[in-house]
């Protein structure tokens, strides 16, 4: 669940500048393979391996982010889709990292460590959302041309959003590898990328809590609906369609949590409340 939350947040970070990345499983793969290689082959401790793996993913993120600047909308989707598949295929044929047989032996990630990283990333994105950079993200999302005419370096900001998203996905990949202990290329195909995007679509793309909520729901749902067997996927599709019709911007919208908290507090001391 923690890993899914991280992945959801990695998509959210890039989506915050209006770029939909379908390649996040690729960033995840880079983080997973690089960190496993470092801990298994070179005996690195887990933390630095995780971070280096994520930094390599950032490099990939910047490399895909720069050409994406010239693209928009659906074309960013296609470019990142191609990129993700490229990465997966690379690990599928690269012998030193096990190729199609996968790579095993990475250990050491506990649930506690995963939630530690969820905490770090949530704190980071929360601070980001309150900062001038967060406002710049909003501006680019709303109207890119106007964002430029008020002097925002849109290109730089969009690439850094890709970098931030890739870092989070890379960390998630590293944690995943060291939690499951066995990774193989099919773990990181575009179906996985798509599911990550669904977390955000379902939970709400306007706020980071939406991504958290979406990932949590999508992790719990398979467990609760286990009795439905193969029909589960059809159910997910149905849920998604219903939500897109009823709440096109996802379950949680900007300001929803604030309003909820206010309502709660006004219930406890009604004099202060607006009711």
């Amino acid at each position: 669940m923690g890993i899914n939350i991280l992945l959801g947040l990695s998509v959210y970070a890039i989506l915050a500048t209006n770029q939909l990345s379908v390649g996040n499983a690729g960033f995840m793969a880079i983080g997973a393979y690089v960190s496993s290689f470092l801990t298994v082959q070179h005996g690195w401790p887990l933390m630095p391996a995780l971070i280096l793996g994520a930094l390599v993913a950032v490099l990939a993120g910047v490399i895909i982010g720069i050409p994406s600047l010239r693209l928009s909308g659906i074309y960013v989707v296609l470019a990142t889709l191609g990129f993700g598949e490229m990465i997966r295929n690379f690990f599928n044929i690269y012998e030193p990292l096990g190729a199609a047989q996968g790579y095993r032996g990475a250990i050491g990630a506990t649930a506690g460590l995963i939630f530690f990283w969820v905490g770090v990333v949530v704190l980071f994105l929360w601070l980001l959302d309150r900062s001038r950079l967060g406002r710049a993200f909003d501006a680019i999302k709303d109207d890119q041309l106007v964002a430029r005419t008020i002097g925002l370096p849109v290109a730089k900001i969009k690439v850094s959003a890709f970098g931030i998203g890739a870092f989070i996905a890379g960390i998630a990949g590293g944690l995943y590898a060291h939690y499951i202990s066995y990774i193989e290329p099919p773990n990181f195909d575009f179906v996985h990328s798509t599911i990550i995007i669904l977390f955000v679509l379902l939970g709400g793309m306007e706020t980071l809590w939406g991504a958290v909520l979406g990932a949590a729901i999508f992790t719990i749902l398979p467990e609760v609906t286990r009795f439905m067997k193969e029909w589960r996927l059809a159910l997910y599709g149905g849920i998604l369609i219903v939500i897109m019709i009823l709440r096109p911007s996802g379950l949680l919208r900007k300001g929803d949590l604030k309003r909820m908290v206010r309502k709660m507090s006004s219930k406890f001391n009604p004099k202060k409340g607006e009711l």
Partner: protein, 264 residues
């Protein structure tokens, strides 16, 4: 010697547009347009629909690229610069069809426009507040009060009334701390009371802040009342220039607006 001096003066003028051409495919949207804007003036740009006024704005602000010709602003050549660099040099603008950041609040819109002066790097995530941040905050408050938006600072831009949306757009442009501001039909759709207030504010900007304004205006009362100088465009060409009185009396202008006096 005399002509050299004259050229020197031309080079040091505030905004200087020279021999500007813009072609869209086979259409010449602007043909050999030259004019100058002096510092501290309100310079009006008028002309019938399709004359090329907004295109000219888009060229000055780098939104569109120039086909040929030069645009100089305080000694900087603008024609090869991207919009964000031009804004940093001190030119801000508004749009004919108001373009606000609809998901953001009024205050947020002002704050994000100040980023050009303070940067929007990761460092702004830290809780630490610099002196500059304090000054910008004060400035944002001042701008909101100047445009009577202070009470509405936490409203989402999408929820504002039409006149307020116009005000927010101008306030946002001013938040980038420009020395020249381009207003594209800022009075479109305003009531006469709002018009009066608008003219007063423009006056205040020029007097208190030393702002220079380039204004596209269809309302002739506003154009004649606000502007020190008018440039008239028609079919992509400059057809007249001068004080409002001179332009009003110009035969070419009257023809462009009303048609030729003797119908064929």
């Amino acid at each position: 010697m005399n002509s050299l001096e004259a050229r020197d003066q031309l080079d040091t003028s505030f905004l200087c547009v020279k021999n500007l051409y813009k072609k869209f495919g086979g259409l010449e949207a602007l043909r050999n347009v030259s004019f100058e804007v002096q510092k501290g003036q309100v310079h009006g740009l008028i002309g019938p629909n399709g004359a090329g006024k907004t295109t000219l704005f888009n060229l000055i602000t780098g939104v569109l690229s120039v086909t040929s010709g030069t645009i100089e602003f305080m000694g900087h050549e603008l024609t090869r610069l991207p919009p964000e660099k031009i804004t940093r040099l001190g030119i801000a603008r508004t749009f004919q069809n108001i373009r606000l950041f609809d998901t953001m609040t009024v205050l947020e819109s002002i704050v994000v426009a100040q980023n050009v002066r303070i940067g929007s790097g990761l460092a702004t995530m830290l809780p630490f507040r610099s002196k500059k941040e304090g000054r910008l905050k004060e400035r944002a408050g001042y701008l909101l009060r100047f445009f009577s938006l202070w009470e509405k600072r936490d409203h989402r831009c999408a929820d504002l009334s039409y006149a307020d949306r116009r005000r927010v757009e101008i306030a946002r442009a001013l938040a980038t701390e420009p020395s020249l501001i381009l207003l594209d039909e800022p009075t479109a759709g305003m009531t006469s009371k709002e018009l009066e207030e608008f003219v007063r504010r423009i006056d205040g900007l020029v007097r208190q802040e030393g702002m220079t304004i380039l204004l596209i205006e269809h309302n002739m009362n506003v154009a004649m009342g606000c502007c020190n100088k008018l440039t008239v465009l028609n079919y992509g060409e400059k057809i007249a220039e001068g004080t409002p009185e001179e332009v009003q009396a110009d035969a070419a202008v009257i023809e462009a607006y009303l048609g030729s006096p003797e119908p064929i």
